[in-house]
């Protein structure tokens, strides 16, 4: 069936709500027709306002309540229309959700899903633009999921909600228009998922996640023209991170670029570079690996600055061409 990334998320919600009576959704904007794009349209009408709960402007308590509902055996999904708002919910996520299994000796299980939406651009500025996936990847106990394809948007959301662990599911509004067909749902086990090769190539390994993976694919197509064959790896699961596939790929291509929509210092791109350095013999790479990410600045509003703030395919092509001495 024809879908886009947004409707794929919607169909995951529908699947979960139809098949699991203990699935419940809580968050801001759920009774509005437009709050989270096309990704939750009419869920309230279809499944009732008891299970699709729109809330006061209280990120901290709403997230904590979802954590508590999970401890009580439900499958709650808490929706944050913008990742930046979650800075009010950090205790519930990091001190509580991520730690209850461990702190109770594995007896409590906190299967909450936290849907964090990256919602940037449009001159919204520094407090309405952040991609903090690296933060969550830093925290043991949290699973961090970042789908870049239409099928992953649906299937990883279902897997996240069915996981007995707390999962940070991060989607990006810049992907909602991406189209693809969807097979009928078949449930997958989140613990078995990891990075995936989106496209094979022998010259360079390009690693990315979420929207950056789309950029990587675009850039790869342009690089082909320049005679550079890229292997694009979509991280998909940022925590716990399994770098094996990347290490294998780099063993073949001997070149590495990481694209990411977050900041550099202590970001996910650095983590990939570090994992490769740790796990390959010196000289395994022929050229220095590169990171393509945000500049070290908050997101600007002015269109004049915003248009150069985010990584672009052109940008990626330029940087990678340089590695191979082309341009």
């Amino acid at each position: 069936m024809k879908h886009n990334y947004g409707t794929a998320i919607l169909s995951a919600f529908e699947y979960l709500l139809e098949n699991y009576s203990d699935a419940v959704v809580i968050g801001q904007g759920l009774w509005s027709p437009w709050y989270v794009g096309n990704s939750m349209t009419n869920l309230d009408k279809k499944f009732g306002v008891e299970r699709i709960i729109d809330t006061p402007v209280s990120e901290s308590a709403c997230t904590g309540a979802a954590v508590g509902a999970a401890l009580a055996g439900m499958k709650p999904i808490v929706v944050h229309p913008r990742m930046d708002f979650m800075l009010y919910a950090m205790d519930a996520i990091v001190n509580q959700a991520a730690k209850w299994s461990h702190m109770t000796g594995g007896q409590a299980s906190c299967g909450v899903t936290i849907r964090a939406i990256i919602n940037r651009g449009g001159e919204q500025g520094a407090q309405h633009s952040q991609s903090l996936h690296a933060w969550f990847a830093h925290v043991p106990g949290l699973r961090v999921v970042m789908p870049s394809t239409v099928s992953d948007a649906r299937d990883l959301l279902i897997a996240s909600v069915l996981s007995p662990d707390p999962v940070m599911y991060i989607d990006d509004r810049w992907l909602y228009d991406l189209e693809d067909t969807l097979e009928p749902v078949s449930e997958i086990d989140l613990t078995k998922e990891g990075p995936k090769i989106l496209r094979s190539g022998s010259d360079i390994t390009i690693v990315a996640s979420g929207y950056a993976a789309r950029l990587a694919l675009e850039a790869a197509a342009e690089l082909d023209v320049l005679g550079i064959a890229s292997e694009v790896i979509d991280l998909r699961i940022l925590n716990p991170l399994n770098p094996e596939l990347i290490i294998d790929s780099v063993g073949k291509t001997r070149h590495l670029a990481v694209i990411d929509g977050g900041w550099k210092t202590c970001g996910i791109a650095g983590e990939i570079l570090a994992s490769v350095a740790e796990n390959t013999i010196p000289g395994a790479l022929k050229k220095q690996p590169i990171r393509i990410m945000l500049p070290d600045a908050p997101a600007p509003t002015s269109i004049a600055l915003e248009k150069n703030y985010y990584p672009s395919a052109t940008n990626i092509v330029e940087r990678i061409s340089l590695i191979f001495g082309r341009s």
Partner: protein, 349 residues
């Protein structure tokens, strides 16, 4: 009032009559009217700019709520410390901000109030007492408490002012801030512009009672609840509260009941978006217009004639348009601003 249900204050069929202007001199009334019209024309220009695609970022318009900031700002000094949020055009303009610079900011220009780095949701005009606004709901509330605490420590007798919405009151940090201000004896005025909505959600879906001033009671704070669409009442009530805060170095709380004519963001009415928002309700609230109610009162007393009003509006409209065009023509920040403005200690353009 003590049941905190708001009754008529939240019912748009009440308070549509001209406001009472007894004992208020004409100059003052003219100042109020000028202040409100300046804001209204500015926001209408922004609505048009957004609709026509000149503005890229979101604009949160407060048309219908102008009396609040105008009433309050008349009691403030340029050395006071005023903070706003996402819907703050009125807050900064009423303190005397330059219209051209506001427009330039919304358009992301270097001459903007925040040098083009903020847009409509991040305004800054400290020279006029406006310490800043940002779109994280409730984010500025503790900041205002801190800036007011600073005033106390600096012995300036300045006060802090924080404008927040009825939705912001649902954020925990607001409650921490109320208590902190009270316990530390901080001279700060909390202004809740209760427009009954937070984005699409009516207050009845978010809180058990309509009046947020119940939290002033819980925090043992002097408070008032007023018709936010009555500029005279706004001015007088806030005058007393602010002078109490200044004199006693204590926080005070002012709840102004009002309504926004436009949708939550941008220029549409967004009737369909709001849960419990209806065309009838918007129409009724448009009759509780803070501008029209003042105008009618002024006409009735003969302060102004219909002609006076018309020429006043014409003049303001023209000034607005000039500022807008000037802003459109001004230049963007240099590329170096992106990295050059991150750290105060390493500033370059």
């Amino acid at each position: 009032m003590d049941d905190f249900l708001l009754q008529e204050l939240s019912d748009p069929d009440h308070f549509q009559e001209p406001i009472s202007i007894e004992n208020i001199d004409s100059d003052t009334l003219i100042r109020y009217l000028n202040g409100m019209l300046r804001i209204r024309y500015a926001e209408r220009r922004l609505a048009r700019g957004k609709k026509e695609g000149d503005i890229g970022g979101p604009v949160h318009l407060g048309v219908g709520q102008e009396a609040i900031a105008v009433g309050i700002s008349g009691n403030l000094r340029k050395t006071d410390r005023i903070f706003g949020a996402h819907r703050s055009h009125s807050h900064v303009l009423s303190m005397g901000a330059d219209l051209y610079r506001l427009f330039a900011e919304v358009l992301g220009k270097d001459d903007g109030l925040s040098r083009g780095m903020g847009g409509s949701m991040h305004l800054w005009d400290q020279a006029n007492g406006f310490y800043g606004s940002v779109p994280i709901v409730s984010g500025t509330v503790p900041l205002a408490v801190g800036a007011a605490l600073a005033a106390k420590l600096q012995n300036t007798e300045d006060v802090g002012v924080i404008y927040l919405g009825d939705g912001a009151v649902e954020e925990g940090v607001v409650h921490e801030s109320l208590n902190l201000a009270r316990v530390m004896g901080v001279p700060v005025l909390f202004v809740v512009e209760n427009n009954l909505f937070a984005s699409h959600m009516h207050i009845s879906l978010r809180q058990p009672k309509y009046a947020t001033a119940r939290f002033a009671v819980a925090n043992d704070m002097l408070y008032e609840i007023v018709d936010g669409n009555d500029v005279v009442k706004m001015h007088q009530t806030s005058k007393n509260l602010i002078s109490y805060a200044r004199t006693n170095s204590m926080p005070v709380f002012l709840e102004a009941v009002t309504y926004r004519w436009y949708g939550h963001v941008d220029w549409r009415e967004d009737i369909d978006v709001g849960v419990n928002r209806s065309e009838e309700e918007v129409a009724a609230w448009r009759k509780r217009d803070p501008v029209a109610r003042l105008v009618c009162a002024m006409l009735a007393r003969g302060v102004y004639s219909e002609d006076d009003i018309e020429s006043l509006e014409l003049r303001i409209e023209k000034e607005t348009e000039i500022a807008w065009q000037q802003a459109k023509e001004s230049h963007y920040p240099p590329h170096s601003a992106l990295l050059g403005r991150v750290y105060a200690s390493k500033m370059y353009d």
